[in-house]
């Protein structure tokens, strides 16, 4: 292991300081570092055991810290990346929603965007015009019906008048006939009068023919007027009031459509702004993730100081071992180890401690500290186990 100069100095310093601390009673101040003190073999053996375990503990704490720092770094980078994706998606979402908002208030008619409210007003105007047309049409149809009612009456009058002409004509004819008879009685004196009477009869016949022609024509007119009247009645009798009242329904539908669209737009606008807020919040989260960098630096600093401590301890241990008689070994600090092992609830971490402290060390598992089950629990490493 690389030991920086500062660490070496610290180790030597610690060794000088530690030696007197190990003693049971205060030793006389060493003049040149070679002063001898008496220490019990038990205390020395205990210290050696502690030193061994402490060094190993420091090692494993360092590696755990490094492991943790790496884990935090990987996870943070992963999280940042995911959050960045999330922010991007939230932004895209808000753009899409804004597009919908822009489209929602209008419709495409013959390639032209028309605001919905303008369209609705236009359609309502159209229906109003239609209803107005129906009203005007109904009024005209009724005027026409009344007019034709009158025409029918007039034509009936006309038919009666033609009948009157016939009556007059019959009388005229009768008079002319009488005149002819009287003229022939008058002999030579009535000859001229007979001619006149003849002419009158002729006139009467012509008038009769004229009356016939008129009757026939008037008959045709009456027939036509009656047909027209019937058709017009059918038209006027077609009730358009339900179509007029349809305007009420159309108006309500249009109003409801506009209201619904306005509501949708409001909701979508909120959604778009929420998406934007989300993406900016996520950006803040990503910035917040930079704590990891600081944490990493702190852990590195802690690890450096732990390395110095570990090196110092190792050197001191070596120096003391060199002066200890061969019969005195390190005694395992069993109680301390038990306390230490009791702290680890993460099985994976506990396993690493067991390996380092017990299997690699001089410690024995005679007191049952080494729990072999722990080693076999690799699959669930990292999970928190409840004891």
């Amino acid at each position: 292991m690389f030991i920086p100069a500062a660490a070496r100095d610290a180790a030597q310093f610690a060794a000088r300081d530690a030696a007197p601390a190990m003693a049971d009673r205060p030793a006389p101040p060493p003049a040149d570092g070679e002063a001898k003190v008496s220490v019990t073999a038990e205390l020395l053996s205990t210290w050696l055991g502690f030193a061994d375990v402490q060094r190993r503990t420091l090692d494993i704490v360092q590696s755990e810290l490094t492991r943790t720092s790496d884990h935090v770094e990987t996870s943070t980078l992963d999280l940042s990346e995911r959050f960045r994706e999330l922010a991007q998606k939230a932004l895209e979402q808000s753009e899409r929603v804004e597009q919908i908002v822009a489209m929602a208030g209008s419709v495409d008619i013959d390639g032209e965007r028309m605001p919905l409210d303008t369209l609705v007003v236009g359609m309502q105007d159209m229906i109003t015009d239609m209803v107005t047309n129906i009203v005007t049409l109904s009024r005209h149809a009724m005027s026409m019906v009344y007019l034709l009612d009158d025409v029918q009456k007039d034509v009936a009058e006309l038919e009666k008048s033609i009948g009157d002409i016939d009556g007059i004509n019959r009388q005229t004819n009768f008079l002319a006939l009488n005149a002819t008879i009287e003229a022939s009685r008058a002999g030579e004196a009535g000859r001229t009068f007979a001619v006149v009477a003849q002419e009158v009869r002729h006139l009467s016949r012509t008038t009769g023919e004229l009356a016939d022609r008129m009757r026939s024509k008037v008959g045709a007119v009456v027939k036509g007027v009656r047909n027209g009247h019937d058709i017009l009645r059918q038209i006027a009798n077609t009730d358009m009031s339900p179509q007029m009242l349809a305007k009420e329904r159309v108006d309500k539908t249009m109003d409801s459509l506009v209201a619904q669209t306005t509501h949708f737009q409001a909701v979508l606008e909120t959604a778009a702004s929420v998406s934007t807020d989300m993406s900016s919040t996520i950006a803040h989260v990503i910035t917040g993730m930079q704590f990891q960098d600081l944490t990493k630096q702190r852990i590195e600093a802690i690890n450096d100081s732990l390395a110095i401590m570990s090196a110092g301890l190792g050197e001191l241990e070596t120096r003391i071992r060199a002066q200890v008689p061969p019969g005195i070994g390190a005694r395992e600090p069993q109680e301390w180890l038990n306390q230490l092992m009791g702290r680890f609830t993460l099985s994976e971490m506990r396993e690493r401690f067991v390996r380092k402290l017990l299997l690699e060390g001089t410690a024995l598992d005679e007191n049952g500290v080494l729990d072999l089950d722990v080693g076999g629990d690799n699959g669930s490493g990292g999970d928190i186990e409840l004891f």
Binding site: T132, V135, A141, M142, D149, M244
Partner: protein, 113 residues
Amino acid sequence: MYSETLNLKDDPMDYGIEVRDQEAVVRLRGRLTFNDHAKLRALIGEMGQNKPRRQVLDLSSLEFVDSAGIGMLLIAREEMDRADKQFVLRAAAGQVKRVLTVAQIAKIVQIED
């Protein structure tokens, strides 16, 4: 119920006239449809002859009017104009009121509640 509805449908319009000092009030009842056109024409003639200048058609008892009926009411207004009389439609309700509203008759004829 059904026959009642049928009766309603065949029920022709009829009317009563009340001539007061200031106005003549004609109360229409039943359903005003094309079939009543001769009757309405006679009514229009009567209204033209009534003394008061203000001629009011009370529609509160009128249940229904068809599009021909609307046309006839407009003709009545024209005739009243010609006879220099004021024509008022009063107290329309239900379908009659709705049709008058949709047809925007208020733009042409004075309407009172």
